[in-house]
Symmetry: C2
């Protein structure tokens, strides 16, 4: 068999040949309901339901769906996605969908059907709020980062894990280009809301700001501290009132720990600037939950991690190391968040939070406030504390 | 054929079967002169000469020579050594020995015979000085670091290069253990000069100092910025009045750029504390030469490197980035230098500069000054400038 994209007409017959899927759905594949619902930028997503249950089948396309066949993208990203899904499931099994089947030739990953979950981004735009979201996101981020880091993994094992993702270069390159580079020049596919021309010119002329973005890119390129999801925006999160799941880790690689929490914070802050209520509190709760949980893992650890050799049996040193880590990861998270906010307003891939604001002048005003906030995050990331965010975001 | 260690009796016959070696030496292998001269900690080294010329044949042993068969070490280090030697030769061909032959099964690397070169460490102890040393070391360090970094190499290529060395874990582990961890507790093979007990206890109780060492270890573990030699002490450098060559890159891996220059500075500074004259100037000339040459490569670069996307056609941004890089690499170099000096006095592997001082009290006094200097480097690495080193090192 060779790779071919499935369709709503062919998916049931294809998936029905896999016993684990047939068992889960029950009945005859001819009766299964199939809907293609991929609303992301890259892939096909089929929701398939039968008499007993359902699955979500995600298939990579050999090009970027958002742009078309003119932008090829390797199918190997499906391989890295299920590799990451399996690694995340070791450390945060309750926060990711169960993996049911994968097919590397078809670039296909079949997972449990998350229902009645919806995408967090759309839910936030609709005004829905989730009291458990902050804590469950803190759990996912703290657990996947800590338990894949040098604090928990011996260097020989860690280096093999780093190597396992080093081939996922095409996905990293998307981030390198779209997040760090293209917003800063007239890349062909950039667009922005009319009325932002002045602030765009101002940002692009700001040497210290661009230097800060370049520093964040250098960290992204060469700081394999832990396994990153790599694309932790609110479109990669599925929620119900009591459950949060993180999907779509196809951008996974070993990178700087501040990247995942920084992306999540940036997307909550953008939802705030787009007019959402209560989201600064969600962001603050997430951050506190994340760093506290990470620190608790560190305090509970025995020997084994590479960095712990120095700190074992020395609580003062360990606590000093935790304090230094908090400062460093916050600094990085602010830098990455700033880069993310700017690229979502000036680059190719925008967010529905702003795009769904019909009135151009209103959207431009909200985006302008977000851009100034992002600039401050990048320039002042050494000095801003969590307590400063509220004032900065309300200016 | 399986691996077997060569001896002075068997080496000539074995090497004589390789045409490139036979041609270089001329005559009959039975007449070749063979001397085993390995004075390092890990390997056999045969100097083999014939009527026409000579070679140096380095063979890895399956254990650490310094300690014995109780400490096994994989032969694969010979593979990484010749991989690194070839990569260094691409960018700094005049500063490394030419590779003539390698045999991965025998863990054997055959190189041009460097003559009349001698090891820099021994030469410095004897009071010899080399006017070209600083500039030629600056050339090696700047060229190998710059041209293997994200500034010069596209991310897809860089990640493949990082991956190529990620299996060299056993050698990295030696550094992780001996440089960063073991000096800080009573590791079984540690030793130090009698009379240092007080300062040792003081250093080990210094939480900010140990935190600084731990931060440097974190950088060593997870900052693949460029190809490192990985063991750039004065015993890895061969000199004549007009030529400097860097040998023994078996610790090579992609790591933080400050590591190689930091190791070299540390070993020059130890030679100074052991009583050598003029070595602070050599260190300062090396540093200035290194950063100036690296910056010149950066300024001369066209497009291509990952970080340059932002900086192309923008001299102000590029110069700001160069200034930030100078500060960051200096900071790291001081941190690594501090860790190196401390471990060479308190750990397993000492340096002849101090060990050759017969009088215990004199040695202890010199080492104590070096330890205080190293502590300052680690604690004040954000604040110390090159101009401060003279005053600190003369205290």
């Amino acid at each position: 068999m060779t790779y071919h994209p499935l369709t709503e007409s062919t998916a049931a017959a294809f998936l029905g040949t896999v016993p684990a899927i047939a068992d889960r759905l029950g009945g005859d594949p001819g009766q299964w309901r199939v809907r293609e619902v991929g609303d992301g930028n890259l892939n096909l997503v089929f929701l398939v339901t039968g008499p007993k249950g359902g699955v979500a089948a995600k298939q990579a396309l050999p090009y970027v769906r958002l742009v078309g066949e003119s932008w090829p993208l390797p199918l190997s990203r499906a391989y890295y996605e299920r590799l990451a899904l399996a690694e995340e499931a070791r450390f945060a099994p309750a926060r990711v969908p169960a993996l049911i089947h994968h097919d590397d030739v078809m670039a296909l990953t079949v997972m449990e059907l998350l229902t009645p979950h919806r995408t967090l981004r759309g839910a936030l735009i609709d005004g829905a709020r989730y009291p458990l979201l902050a804590a469950q996101m803190a759990e996912f981020v703290a657990d996947t980062l800590y338990f894949t880091s040098d604090l928990a993994v011996p260097p020989e094992v860690k280096k093999a894990r780093i190597a396992a993702y080093l081939g996922n270069t095409a996905m990293c390159r998307i981030t390198e280009d779209l997040v760090f580079d293209e917003p800063w020049f007239d890349a062909p596919m950039n667009f922005h809301t009319p009325g932002l021309e002045g602030v765009v010119a101002q940002l692009r002329a700001d040497v210290p700001l661009r230097l800060a973005v370049q520093a964040m890119k250098a960290r992204f390129l060469a700081a394999p501290e832990a396994l990153l999801h790599g694309d932790l925006h609110t479109g990669s999160i599925m929620v119900t009132a009591d459950d949060t799941r993180i999907i779509d880790p196809e951008f996974a690689f070993y990178g700087p720990m501040g990247f995942d929490p920084g992306m999540f914070l940036a997307n909550l802050w953008m939802a705030h600037f787009a007019g959402g209520a209560g989201l600064l509190d969600v962001a603050a709760q997430f951050w506190t939950g994340f760093v506290d949980r990470f620190a608790a893992h560190w305090r509970a650890a025995g020997e084994g991690g590479a960095l712990l050799a120095l700190a074992r049996n020395d609580a003062a040193l360990r606590d000093a190391a935790i304090a230094a880590w908090r400062k460093a990861v916050w600094r990085d998270a602010l830098g990455f968040a700033g880069a993310e906010i700017i690229r979502r307003i000036l680059g190719l891939a925008h967010v529905a939070d702003f795009e769904s604001i019909a009135e151009t002048a209103v959207r431009a005003a909200h985006e302008t406030r977000a851009l100034h906030f992002a600039r401050t995050l990048l320039l002042e990331r050494d000095r801003i504390g969590l307590a400063d965010i509220g004032a900065l975001a309300r200016l």
